[in-house]
């Protein structure tokens, strides 16, 4: 496999659900993910940012094979995930979930939770597994004494370390982190982010890092993709998106990050707060009802993700117009 081959590739992935509103109300289609194409090269971290209901977790589930795309293809290491067996898939991609309380089975010891992937894949003898579990626990900063403990005896941060150990023990090609720190206190979040950064540099992990907080994402991600209502609205190198975001929603998200600087007042995101109903998305650009730069074209035509300036891509008519105006004659 060449190094040019991306580890993760999404080709125009669509996921539609049919949602019952209440027990007997008619079902309506919900476009959770509306045509997403992204790729993550080996050794890189793609940060996926968006608010609740934007489809980022659905996307993660499709990459993990827990959901099947309605349309499009997910390829891992060049192979369509739909054609992989469950064991093969598990060797390629592993998750770390959000809630450290529900992500560990309360009736199993830490050792058996971390060792489960080895047991399922029939790797090594019982003694070898034990050694590897101990190594893994040490790698994520837990002591050997934790092996015999049950999840209820650990703190939130320790549990999240266990989840990371379980995800890494099979040495997967790709790690999916779905809001791994958003259920944690800030001081614990910092510990987990530091751990992930450390593992990143030591193991050269390739990962998809999902969060609603841009400040967290930029700690780890080499590239960032911003999602809004099921679509990627901006994608580019982290530094560029953080400094020169082109999509007004990315700028709004960035402004919403409240840094602990007492001299700055509250930001004016100029986004309003009328979050659209995902069951009845607005026509044209889905973001137009909240957009401060909206003009007529936005209400009828959905913008496509394309390069306007620099190395990043944005799906915005205003960005396109501005870029066009800036081209020297």
């Amino acid at each position: 496999m060449s190094d040019q081959q991306p580890i993760l590739e999404l080709r125009n992935v669509v996921k539609r659900y049919s949602v019952g509103r209440g027990m007997f109300a008619p079902k309506r289609p919900l476009m959770a993910v509306g045509g997403v194409s992204l790729s993550v090269p080996r050794g890189q971290v793609l940060g996926l940012v968006g608010e609740s209901g934007c489809g980022k977790s659905t996307l993660a589930k499709m990459v993990l094979g827990l959901e099947t795309p309605t349309e499009g293809e997910v390829l891992i290491d060049g192979r369509p995930i739909a054609q992989l067996g469950r064991l093969e898939r598990a060797r390629l991609v592993q998750p770390v979930f959000q809630d450290p309380y529900s992500s560990l089975n309360p009736r199993k010891t830490i050792a058996s939770i971390v060792g489960l992937p080895l047991a399922v894949h029939g790797e090594g003898s019982a003694a070898e597994r034990e050694t590897r579990v101990a190594e893994m626990l040490a790698l994520v900063g837990l002591s050997p004494r934790h092996a015999a403990a049950y999840p209820s005896q650990l703190s939130g941060g320790q549990r999240q370390r266990v989840a990371i150990a379980r995800a890494l023990i099979l040495k997967p090609q790709l790690l999916i982190c779905d809001e791994p720190t958003s259920a944690l206190d800030v001081s614990v979040q910092a510990q987990i982010l530091n751990l992930l950064m450390d593992l990143q540099s030591r193991l050269g992990l390739t990962s998809l890092f999902i969060s609603h907080n841009l400040a967290v994402v930029q700690m780890l991600a080499t590239r960032v993709a911003v999602m809004y209502l099921g679509r990627v609205v901006e994608e580019g190198p982290t530094a560029e998106v953080m400094v020169r975001a082109q999509h007004p929603y990315s700028r709004g998200l960035l402004a919403s990050v409240l840094t602990p600087d007492p001299r700055l007042g509250l930001p004016d995101t100029r986004l309003g707060s009328v979050f659209p109903d995902p069951l009845a998305p607005p026509p044209g650009c889905a973001f137009h009802p909240r957009c401060p730069l909206v003009f007529d074209r936005c209400k009828v035509e959905a913008p496509r993700l394309r390069n306007h300036q620099g190395a990043s891509r944005a799906a915005c008519h205003a960005a396109e117009r501005d870029a066009a105006a800036m081209i020297p004659a």
């Binding site: 509103r21 209440g22 027990m23 007997f24 109300a25 008619p26």
Partner: protein, 305 residues
Amino acid sequence: MLRFTLRRLLLALVVGIAVSAIAFMLLRVSGDLAIALAGEDASPAEVERIREQYGLNRPIIVQYAEWLWRAVQGDLGRSLFYPESVANLIMSRLPVTLTLAGLGLVIALLISLPLGIIAALRRNTWVDRGALGIAVVGQAMPNFWFGLLMIFFFGLSLGWLPISGSDTWMHFVMPAITLGWFSAPVLMRLTRGGMVEVMTSDYIRTARAKGLPGRVVVLKHALRNAIIPVVALCSVQFGNMLSGSVIIETVFALQGIGYLAWEAISRRDFPVVQGILLLVALFYVILTLLADILNAWLDPRIRRG
């Protein structure tokens, strides 16, 4: 809401058909009805004659379809014992059972609602433990035994109440108490559980933060939400009471459909048994339908969902 009602109605209809089929089939597959009718020591020829006479030799589906077709028209066949049609027989006994079940439900609610609410508000005090204790002990008593004890004390020893028959309201006192007593624990637990959950909810804290007095918090904000599942359970309990009337009516010789069912079963009067099974099952289907609609109507999240 209309859509909800229609869908729920359709479900009730399908369940109704399934239940009627089961009520019919059960008696056919659990043994040879012809032998049961003719008696254990009847000659093979006699059994064959009966099989012929009742059409038991035809495919079971055909028998069922025919029975259902007649049943829909109100014809449940004729009793093998009484010189009457099954439908008439049941209709003449039904009022007794409905009265009994109605009274039973009222008694159950009179016991369970206040007790459940007080237990929830005084959680983990002796009131709560006492109420739960009564519920646990109450549920452990066999209802026929409880009935017999009542007969012994209030009927035989004290002579306050008549011990059998269904002529006056006095005849209903003990059966209704017995029936209500056994429904009360379930209703009480649900009321208590619902109230406990609601009282610890965020919106009750909001109501208290508004400065509302305790009585308004409990009656307006808590009870309204806690009572919704109780309403549904009430109809389920009413259905159970119709079914449980077999035991109670037999103990007190109350001439309702329960007693009729027992008589018919003992005498192998199968058209009557089938008719009663169908009727009680349909009652239950209709009651749950009503409960669901009432539930939806009480809960704005369903009504306007």
